[in-house]
């Protein structure tokens, strides 16, 4: 079955991060796939132009078939190395420098999760590292809790976007932090990318509908039985969500609106 043909005309509605334009608002992770070919096929199907990979997984000595970078070598795909495995700001800064040198990019997904169980990001270390890395010329995209104040603090030190979590990473639970994401989106001067927890295309669509600028998805695609088809489903969902956002959704009513019980007394006879 083909899912890629659309009858609508694609709007020119690029996402701009640090001066760089993206047509796709879907970012992908490269972990958890059964093999590199499957990963490549899913990424291509998703239309994603920004993919993140853990520095700790890349073997720079490996020039053979197992070299993950070979499979990401497409003109439209930009690499976003991440610092997964770092437990402190110092470790993350070290990893960032290593990534910049090895991959020739100053883009960085800053991840500091000292808790190996739930991979909860460390707000204090992340802010500290972000400040330093921005000074060193990195384009920093920090993975953080859906904490509106932290987002403003990160914005103030010069991050290029914020990446609040929707739910614990890898949980597929969807937008559990909805109320806080709404505040973040409302207040942010930098793009908001919902990262972690997005387990279904409907979650991604919901994030874009509410005004998130993009989403990052990994587990839901990589672990799907048919990851290429799932990647396509996410592509469509993200586009739909964004279109709906641009088209302005109607307000949600919690219950039917009754006549005017509180203002009835203002009405004059016969009105």
């Amino acid at each position: 079955m083909q899912f890629t043909t659309h009858n609508y005309k694609r709007m020119n509605d690029p996402l701009v991060i640090a001066g760089k334009s993206f047509q796709s608002r879907l970012f992908l992770g490269t972990g958890k796939f059964g093999n590199h070919q499957e990963m490549e096929a899913a990424i291509v199907a998703s239309g994603s132009e920004l993919v993140t990979m853990a520095l700790k997984r890349i073997d720079f000595n490996d020039k053979e078939e197992d070299d993950i970078l070979r499979y990401l070598n497409h003109d439209h795909i930009n690499l976003l190395p991440n610092t997964s495995g770092a437990r402190t700001a110092d470790e993350a800064i070290f990893a960032a420098r290593l990534a910049r040198e090895a991959l020739q990019t100053n883009w960085l997904k800053l991840e500091i999760h000292p808790d190996p169980r739930y991979l909860m990001p460390d707000a204090i270390e992340t802010l500290k590292a972000a400040e330093q890395l921005v000074k060193e010329g990195f384009v920093v995209l920090p993975y953080i809790h859906a904490d509106p104040v932290l987002c403003k603090r990160l914005e103030a030190v010069g991050v290029a976007a914020v990446m609040p979590l929707g739910a614990p990473i890898g949980s597929n639970k969807g937008l559990r932090t909805l109320d806080f994401l709404e505040i973040i989106i409302e207040q942010s001067n930098v793009p908001v990318v919902v990262d972690a927890g997005i387990g279904a295309p409907s979650h991604a669509a919901a994030a874009l509908e509410m005004g998130a600028d993009a989403v990052l998805v990994n587990t839901a695609i990589a672990v799907a039985q048919d990851s290429v088809q799932m990647a396509t489903a996410f592509k469509i969902a993200v586009e739909a969500g964004r279109m709906a956002y641009n088209a302005k959704l109607g307000a949600v009513q919690q219950r039917a609106v009754a006549s005017s019980p509180l203002t009835e007394f203002l009405m004059v006879n016969g009105e």
């Binding site: 958890k32 093999n35 490996d62 495995g85 437990r87 070290f94 290593l98 190996p116 672990v223």
Partner: protein, 367 residues
Amino acid sequence: MFDHIFNQHSWHDVQSSIYSKTAGEVELALRKSKRDIEDFKALISPAAAPYLEQMAQLSAALTQKRFGKTVQLYVPLYLSNECQNICTYCGFSYDNKIKRKTLSSFEILQEAEYLKQQGFEHVLLVTGEANKTVGLDYFQKAIRLLRPHFRNISIEVQPLDANEYAALTQEGLHAVLVYQETYNKEHYKDYHPKGKKSNFDYRLETPDRLGTANIHKIGLGVLMGLEDWRTDNFFTALHLSYLEKQYWQTRYSISFPRLRPAEGLIEPKVVINDRELTQLICAWRIFREELELSISTRESQSFRDNIIRLGITSMSAGSATNPGGYVTEPESLEQFCIDDNRSPAVVAAMIKEQGYTPVWKDWTAFS
């Protein structure tokens, strides 16, 4: 320290509580989204045996969600079989009158070069316990030698003091595996009649010392074949639950060594069969979806091939269990006979055939 919690549990009471778990408790454990230690008891109990397929399905799904379709590969590098302990199940036991061997720096590098050629980036250094010749200095030297060649270095050696662990962490040590062998304190002495290892409490407190030293990863486990495996695994889970809260920045892994034939040794007192071992592995996964679960070449080819999908996330391949076993002295005394003799390349090909990615490297030191 864990001994406070440990001492509140009697082996006998725990054992009878596991054996009196009911089908209803198993079903409840399977339905929950977070499981506690009582649920774990139910999952490892005889009452869970009829639910094996259901457990396997759940375990497979949880593992894929967390780890994706990947299996990490590592290899043991035996450095020494000198040992001052008598352990009734181990080929390196002091009373085993065989020639002892400790690798020199040159020999360590020889072995390392061979393992690098096989593709390994994660290496586990193993020794007996001979504190004078194979102590902190020796380990420091070995890690310094190997660090340029491997991305991830773990050790499985005698328990050390906290400051010694801290010193090795400084050298770039990533993980320490320390198995209690059995949590049955009464019978522990029977298996470890002589040597430093006969001190049950010092061994029991080792993960605390590791946590204090802020090591990245601690590996736990018991040797199955000594005492009732269900009760021993309950205590392992109890130990883990304590450590998780205490040392929350540490990663944990669980191994499932079954007693293997070795030179001059006891027969297993209790046997855990393949079906029970599968139940145990699935129970661990359902209990804690983020745990690294590891299986060695002690197990057979067919068991290893099939267990990957069910929850195992890390395995060794092409192992030799004797010092110098790869290149320098292939005929030296081995710790135990391995079962799966396939080369790392063949094991990696098998993993790929199942639609999984063999992961040779999953670590870079960020300092």
